[in-house]
Amino acid sequence: MTFGNVVERCRQNESELVREWREVVARSLAGRLPAALVEKELRDILDALLGALEAGGGTDPQAEPYAEVRALLVELSRDRAQQGFSPRETAVSVFGLKEAVSKVLGDTDVTGFFRVIDEFGLYTFETYTKAREEVITNQAEQLLELATPVVKLWDGVVALPLVGTLDSARAQVVMEKLLQTLVDTGSEHAIIDITGVPAVDTQVAQHLLRTVVAARLMGAECIISGIRPQIAQTIVALGIEFGDIATKASLADALMLALSRLDVDVNAEIAKRSR
């Protein structure tokens, strides 16, 4: 693939090209990014792109001379994805170069050069999509953290109300959080409430059992509460045995059990607190 004198002419008109390109991009970003920043991004990309073409880059975006261009585009996609720009707005940042080239170079034959730009436009689209997925995964992980509050119910008693689907990733987070809270609060009793868990399969049960065992190793006893009738029947049909782990229908029942294990005289405590 030959590019005629396109590369040379781009070099001669580099600042004008960057300016025109920035105009196109600015239109789609509508002032949501500072013009100076966009201009610097575009200038760097154009410089790297022309450099690669001068070094015989060809039309394959994965070719060695394009390493720097790719790095710059990955950075651009990642920034745009994090800032919440759409894939279209991000791709325009690359495709917009075509408009600028047409305007500045007039009637020069730019077919080969445009092919290269198209390849990089698509490349940006792909990296944007990947970056966006990463952003979403991170948000999902943050949600996971948020959705597992461990609350202190009483001196020495913490509760973990589970809500939603307890998949492996979440079960791991939940277990770690509970064990950490036991340490931080010096509690010896934990109540795991599963009222908000729609189904308990063998995997969820195994996670629960492991959590209870791990807590025991740390000297704490767990009570599982919130076992609704449909869940109880399902657990029995599955053949899951909770062994000597205390289970209760409601959180309140579980708290009463924990308090009696702690030898707390609830009536006396209430009287004391209301004095």
Binding site: A199, Q203, Q233, G239
Partner: protein
């Protein structure tokens, strides 16, 4: 009635299968207990498809039998298959560090359970639950 085919290639797919089965079970007017049983069986089978079958698919549909409505779910993979079905169905048997209650448990949770498997030719499990 048209069947839906759902891919099972990751944890998120298992959750999606469970949700889709729950939706059909509600449509077929299964009781809350029966919904939960079917969803739990589907969860076990979808997870086996993923873990042991190396991924596959679930095909779920509403079925009718005279006056009764129900839900049928079929789980299929082209994985290694099961050499000894009786052993795999035995409570407590696991080759992967599970509780070994998934297959036997799923069978007890539904009204009809059918498993076909051959070493090297994948595994297909079909379960049906009827409204009472």
């Amino acid at each position: 009635m048209t069947a839906q085919e759902l891919p099972i290639h990751g944890d998120a797919d298992v959750v999606r299968v469970r949700q889709a089965v729950r939706a059909l079970a509600i449509e077929a007017k299964l009781s809350l207990v029966d919904q939960t049983k079917l969803v739990t069986a589907a969860s076990e089978l979808a997870r086996n498809t993923l873990t042991y079958g190396g991924g596959g698919s679930a095909t779920i549909e509403r079925v009718e039998n005279g006056t009764r409505a129900g839900v049928r779910a079929l789980f299929h993979d082209d994985g290694p298959g099961i050499a000894d079905l009786a052993l795999a169905l035995r409570d407590g048997y696991t080759s992967g560090g599970g509780l070994g209650l998934g297959l036997g448990g799923a069978k007890r949770l539904v009204d009809a359970f059918e498993i076909r498997s051959e070493p090297g030719r994948g595994t297909t499990v079909t379960v049906t639950k009827w409204a009472r």
